[in-house]
Amino acid sequence: MITELGHFALALALAVALVQSVLPMIGAARGNGALMDVARPAAFAQFVLVIAAFGALVHAFVTSDFSVVGVYNNSHTLKPLLYKISGVWGNHEGSLLLWITILAVFGAAVAALGRNLPPTLRARTLAVQGMISVGFIAFILFTSNPFLRIDPAPAEGLGLNPILQDPGLAFHPPMLYMGYVGFSIVFAFAVAALIEGRVDATWARWVRPWTLAAWIFLTLGIGLGSWWSYYTLGWGGWWAWDPVENVSFLPWLAGTALLHSAIVVEKREALKSWTVLLALVAFSMSLLGTFLVRSGLLTSPHAFAADPTRGIFVLALLGITIGGSLVLYAIRAPYLEGGGAFAPISREGGLLINNLLLTTCVATVLLGTVYPIITDALDVGKITVGRPYFDAVFVPLMVPLVALMGVGPLLSWKRADVTGALARLKIAAAIVAVVAVSTLAVSGTSLVALGTALGFSMAAWLGISTILEWAERTRIIRAGAFQRVIHLPRAAHGMTVAHFGMAVLIAGITASTAGRQEHIQTMTPGQSVEMAGYTLTFKGVATVPGPNYTANRATIELTRDGRLIDTLQPERRVFRQPPQETTFIRIHTRWFSELYTVLGDPDDNGYVTRFFYEPLVTLIWYGTLLMALGGLISLTDRRYRVGAPRRAVSVAAGMPAPEAAE
């Protein structure tokens, strides 16, 4: 019964979304306030209905109602509650429902928080939001209905893949989706602005919090996914340039570019049409991410079953959204020009080069990701574009970007003095030289060592120049610094933290790539392996029963300088439903470095074991967290608060603003 109500609520939501996408648009075109006012209640109604539908599906999973196909296929009574709930989005239908739920939440948030937006802009934004909802709800209802029943109902479900029964993965898809869907708001704002033909500093301020929020969620989602693959898959890798990783990375790159170009619109009213284009691109990449993963077009772990009707629907949705918005852009963008001029060497110039490099990254990563699909479709051969390609195109684009990241924040708007900025970074340059020389002294002058030295130099350059910029801005060593730190806009602190996080991330990537050690061997009880200053002694394997699995548990003693410091017990678990084997690795962490142990198959004389030493690998995730934290700090900036737009408008109208003292 509840399931049918959920289905019905979703159908009603489609009707509401249709109303929301048509009436306010007409109202805005005709200046009819009553029609425009339909947008807000419609967004709220849609929110309530979609939440009801999502709740009904969660209910079916939690109560293990196996008469629902999705529950039967993906759940089991023995599963812990958390994984019953995460099973809701562990499949194609449910994940789309989650998508649309987040969309409805964001839509309601715009309706609730956007009271200060000009009525036409708000009506149009919500209308575009409604159109996206129409497309998605129709897709769910007509091709991927999560509320389908089976009759007679089976007594027990098929279970969720054990590798997906992990807290990291329970929250990875919702995080990513919040990022993807967050860009839909930015997209809606951009389309509305194109229709209005007006993009200005105020528009950039309205859009910025949504871009930031989406970016933060996407950063965390990607980080979570990388961490999960590191500690569950058993080969110690945190990024493989897998197509599925790439499609979540593409909107992140575009979103990062957008965050930076929106600053130029906000401060200088330049790069307007470029910023709008980036907003369109960021959401297009999100759509591509959602659909390439789910459509089965990619050979990938995440791909669910391919169904041709779905494929056509998906292509149509993508075509209408991306094609339509680009056509609108082509027609309307020429009317957006104008804005502050600037010299090539200036803050704007720096941000422009940042954008250029990031969009080039988007293009090259996109090409590498979809190229195999294209060649397959054209039947010119099955190919894979793997890690070497992406490393070869990505790293050369990142090097100048990071070099610029150190200098950029020190450049002034309009026209800057680059020698002056570089002179202020003398200390950073000196430390970079020391880092580079000492890395080379330790590791020699092979190609790998040169790469390592470059990586550490980049990290040092970025980290130190970021701190120097912050110290200079707050004049930290002079009296009254505390006051200046307090009064510095939050966005400035946010930038410092996020850029520093990037430096930490680069250091982690470099160290764990260059210093990684691996040992694979067959071990019998009592044997030991020496590695990175540790001695790992294999003590044997015991069979241990678990709630819904049986485990082979190895015991490995870890000694350093003759002292026992840890006992690690990696396992191989055999699950009963579904009948699958999974590796459970165990990690010993010392400072930021990790020792990673995997138990393999039994062999004639013992067990195969695999050990990795991953130096400074945890910096990758600390760096990612710092970046997200920087975004969060930026988001709390007073200028972007919910009430801010009205005041900003009054500033534009030449009236005194209460926050002018800031």
């Binding site: 669910f304 001029a341 080039t360 574009v385 195109v393 198959d601």
Partner: protein, 156 residues
């Protein structure tokens, strides 16, 4: 800076970015594209030992021989077979009768030396390339494909 010269500057910058990106892509594509071959294609095309390849097929029942950390097994597309050698821990769901993909080089001895083996987690699931290769050899029925594969890589 006048409007015109500013526009010129943008265009030049854009072209520079485009050119750099293109150059990077072309050089990287040249060296780093990996083709997928079925055992039949391997037999027909005789790939050189320096060409990085992906191969795949069903693991032949009874062909898996483990010798310490080294594993030798045979894959088939039902028309031809190909022996594969791999050192390391195989993915959890590597099984006889299941579809797998291996990446590596052809050895001079006719044995494919893999340094990566991919298997999918669902016992009914078939990697897309393998399914297509089987379809080509006419030994695959549509509809026996299953849902929800989960990731599983073994890399070295």
């Amino acid at each position: 800076m006048t409007r015109k010269s500013r526009r010129l500057y943008f265009v030049l910058l854009g072209l520079l970015g485009l050119g750099a990106g293109l150059a990077l892509v072309l050089t990287a594509f040249n060296d780093n594209i990996v083709f997928f071959f079925s055992p039949t294609e391997v037999a027909a095309k005789h790939p050189k030992p320096d060409q990085r390849l992906r191969v795949g097929g069903l693991v032949v029942d009874g062909s898996v021989q483990k010798n310490g950390t080294e594993v030798v097994f045979t894959v088939t597309d039902m028309s031809n077979v190909l022996p594969i050698k791999y050192v390391g821990i195989l993915p959890d769901l590597f099984r006889e009768g299941q579809g797998i993909i291996a990446e590596g080089h052809m050895g001079p001895d006719g044995i494919f030396a893999a340094n990566e083996v991919l298997a999918k987690h669902d016992e009914k699931y078939m990697p897309k390339e393998v399914a297509d290769a089987l379809k080509k050899s006419g030994r695959w029925q549509e509809g026996s494909n299953a849902k929800h594969p989960a990731p599983e890589n073994a890399q070295r």
